[in-house]
């Protein structure tokens, strides 16, 4: 009887305890869920804001103008390198505008009229003529890039338009007239993808930064992957386990935590001041980013090597393989997916790195698309930084658009890392 009661008491205590445990578990899950929701909301807000601001930058206002490729106005006889340099394409545009609005005589008004079109539209015309010399002498309708003030005006709502101080009253009339007749409209912002940086927002593109980032990443990858993997293999497979290797190990972990700007300073001191490499070039940028990427790659490669079961090493050694053969035949193939994943993540970090590149002068305004590793260049995140620092309002959308491109690359690389890991992962 007594034991019976004891058992009952024990059971009910167990039940109460269980309920408490379940409650605690539910609460804990609640915390976790809340944390994830908060993170997701933050991410959504960030993406929403950036995409909302950046999307308009992929569109651009164009003005359709009747361009007559007049030899006299251009001041050339035929299409050749030398003559094109002399040619006055702005005159073509001015003439076309004058013909479109014949009533405008006053100098001040004419000046305002010409300002409707991008001040670099002449370059676009030159390229057009260069690719198609047959045009000389003919007349055609060309969509010219509008000035960024016009672009801003077109993209804003009625209220904002009313107090747009950048556009004068006459310009407003012309714009309305052109818009109503369909001569003023939106088109794809091609210069964003085909040109380098520019002082005119409507002509500013990120191809320069894109190519700069590409060259920089090539240098970083070519240096950091082999060096990192070799270091990891040596440390894991060959280095004697003593005080020295312990110190090296600790310091590699320390390096991973060093603020990136310090690597920039180091790069400035060593590569530029000591070795005399040029400033602002992808080569030096890649060298600096290699220093940054190395610890990450070494650490991930080492853990990938560590994850290879020792039984496989023993099996190979027992078959009479040398240490080098064990590494080449067994350890490397098995550790490669982990190494690649780590490398891609390190590359993604390097792609988004700004601070150290500021130190080595990759922050300069560079309009030309770099042609090689030693041309002055900038990179994607620095381009974002540069544009966000520009006071002109028309660069706000460009900044967000550049961030979108950068994020697309980062997401792409991280996805690649995950896919690669899933695909190459081997079970043993």
């Amino acid at each position: 009887m007594a034991t019976d009661r004891n058992e009952q008491a024990g059971a009910s205590r167990l039940r109460r305890g269980l309920q408490k445990r379940y409650r605690r578990e539910r609460r804990f899950r609640g915390y976790g869920l809340t944390a994830i929701m908060l993170g997701l909301i933050a991410l959504l807000v960030l993406f929403g804001d950036i995409i909302g601001k950046g999307l308009p930058a992929f569109q651009q206002t164009h003005i359709q103008l009747e361009i007559s490729w007049d030899r006299e106005v251009l001041g050339i006889n035929q299409v050749s390198e030398a003559e094109l340099k002399q040619a006055n394409f702005d005159a073509l545009i001015k003439q076309a505008l004058r013909e479109r609005f014949p009533g405008v005589d006053a100098r001040r008004q004419q000046h305002q009229l010409f300002k409707l079109v991008s001040s670099e539209a002449g370059y676009n015309l030159r390229e057009r003529l260069q690719t198609d010399p047959e045009l000389l002498g003919s007349t055609e309708t060309v969509a010219l890039v509008a000035n960024s003030t016009v672009d801003m005006y077109m993209k804003s709502d009625a209220e904002a338009r009313a107090d747009d101080r950048q556009i004068t009253e006459v310009q407003r009339q012309w714009i309305n007239e052109l818009r109503d007749s369909g001569e003023l409209g939106f088109g794809l912002n091609t210069s964003f993808f085909t040109q380098g940086d520019s002082r005119n927002a409507e002509q500013a593109g990120m191809l320069g930064a894109l190519v700069g980032s590409f060259y920089t990443m090539v240098v970083t990858l070519l240096l950091s992957f082999p060096i990192g993997v070799a270091a990891a293999i040596y440390l894991e497979e060959f280095a004697p386990k003593n005080r020295l290797t312990e110190i090296i190990e600790v310091n590699i972990n320390n390096l991973a935590a060093v603020p990136s700007i310090i690597f920039g300073l180091l790069g400035l001191a060593v590569f530029i001041n000591f070795f005399g490499l040029p400033r602002s070039v992808p080569l030096v940028g890649g060298l600096v980013l290699t220093l940054m990427a190395l610890p990450t790659i070494i650490i991930s490669a080492r853990s990938a090597i560590k994850a290879v079961p020792p039984s496989i090493r023993e099996a190979a050694l027992g078959m009479g393989a040398s240490r080098m053969q064990v590494v080449l035949h067994h350890v490397l193939p098995l550790a490669l997916p982990g190494m690649l994943t780590g490398t891609i993540i390190a590359m993604a970090q390097a792609l988004g790195e700004t601070a150290p590149l500021l130190m080595i002068g990759m922050v300069a305004f560079i309009a030309d698309v770099p042609q090689g590793f030693t041309d002055s260049a900038t990179v994607l995140p620095v381009q974002v930084y540069l544009w966000s620092n520009t006071p002109e309002e028309s660069y706000v959308a460009l900044t967000s658009a550049a961030i979108m491109v950068l994020l697309a690359f980062l997401i792409g690389m991280n996805t690649l890392a995950v896919v690669l890991r899933k695909k190459l992962e081997q079970r043993w």
Partner: protein, 292 residues
């Protein structure tokens, strides 16, 4: 404290626990020399006065024995007595353990195993090893078996390699089960098949001695029988040293049996003799199940 002394004390304690009412404690102490017949004429391998240390701890204590040609020698003893350590000393697998040091004389056909003239790679090709846990490479079955011959340049042409793979798998009794899926991963086989694959892999390089560390510990009785048959067959051309926890297995497959106890080789004799009339109490306690 002196390590040997430590071991002696530990042994005394252990045997005192075994049956405390027996007053004849002296009989339990380690014999000065190994009891039985550890030595043979014209041995394949000879081991003299070998000590093995892990850092300061002595795992093998003054062991001397011979392994005859085409002989199957079984090593038995309680867990942790140093069987694996001893086995790994025979093909220098202990070299890869940083803390492990070895002293004494080990000879393979009169060549000093630890001498400077001995090449480790060659040694391991001549003295193959099958590990306690099946450890096939995460490669195809074919590649697993072909690895050794390729490594040592024993089979140059494709058809030679094919022949080696087939004959090795046949000897290991695995050919019929895998001949249609040679290109599949070796890790996809069952535990027993993996162990036989590992055996095929080690005999593919035509070793002179095969060391087997509890090759059947993870196998069912049917697979065990297959491997025991294999050992019997292999013993016609190879010398085999096998570690086992199963007395029956030792009795079935081996010619001579060595009993290890806390790093000491207590007794080594004809297998029949060991299992029917052991000379030393420790051996008797162990094989009758009173110890370990």
């Amino acid at each position: 404290m002196d390590t040997a002394l430590q071991y002696n004390q530990a042994a005394r304690r252990a045997s005192a626990d075994a049956d405390s009412e027996n007053p004849m404690l002296e009989e339990r102490a380690y014999p000065e020399e190994t009891i039985g017949e550890p030595l043979v004429d014209n041995p394949k391998m000879s081991i003299r006065n070998v000590d093995v240390f892990y850092d300061r701890d002595q795992a093998i204590n003054n062991v001397s024995l011979d392994i005859g040609r085409n002989e199957v020698v079984a090593l038995i003893g309680p867990s942790g007595c140093g069987k694996t350590t001893f086995l790994r000393a025979l093909n220098r697998m202990n070299d890869i353990i940083d803390t492990c040091r070895i002293r004494g004389e080990l000879r393979l056909d009169d060549e000093d195993i630890y001498g400077s003239a001995m090449d480790v790679v060659e040694l391991r090709a001549r003295v193959g090893m099958v590990f306690q846990k099946p450890n096939p490479f995460p490669k195809s079955i074919y590649e697993n078996v072909a690895y050794g011959p390729r490594l040592h340049g024993m089979a140059e042409k494709r058809h030679e390699l094919d022949d080696v793979v087939e004959s090795s798998l046949r000897k290991a009794g695995l050919w019929d089960e895998v001949k249609d899926r040679l290109q599949q991963s070796g890790t996809g086989l069952s535990g027993g098949q993996q162990q036989r694959l590992c055996i095929a892999r080690s005999i593919a390089v035509n070793p002179e001695v095969v060391l087997m560390d509890e090759p059947c510990s993870a196998l069912d009785p049917i697979a065990t029988v297959k491997i025991e048959e294999l050992i019997a067959e292999l013993s016609q051309s190879y010398t085999i040293v096998i570690v086992t926890h199963s007395m029956q297995q030792a009795a079935r497959v081996s010619h001579r049996t060595a009993y290890f106890h806390l790093g000491h080789l207590i007794e080594m004799n004809e297998t029949n003799k060991i299992f029917t009339a052991p000379d030393h109490r420790l051996t008797e306690d162990y094989i009758t199940g009173r110890f370990g």
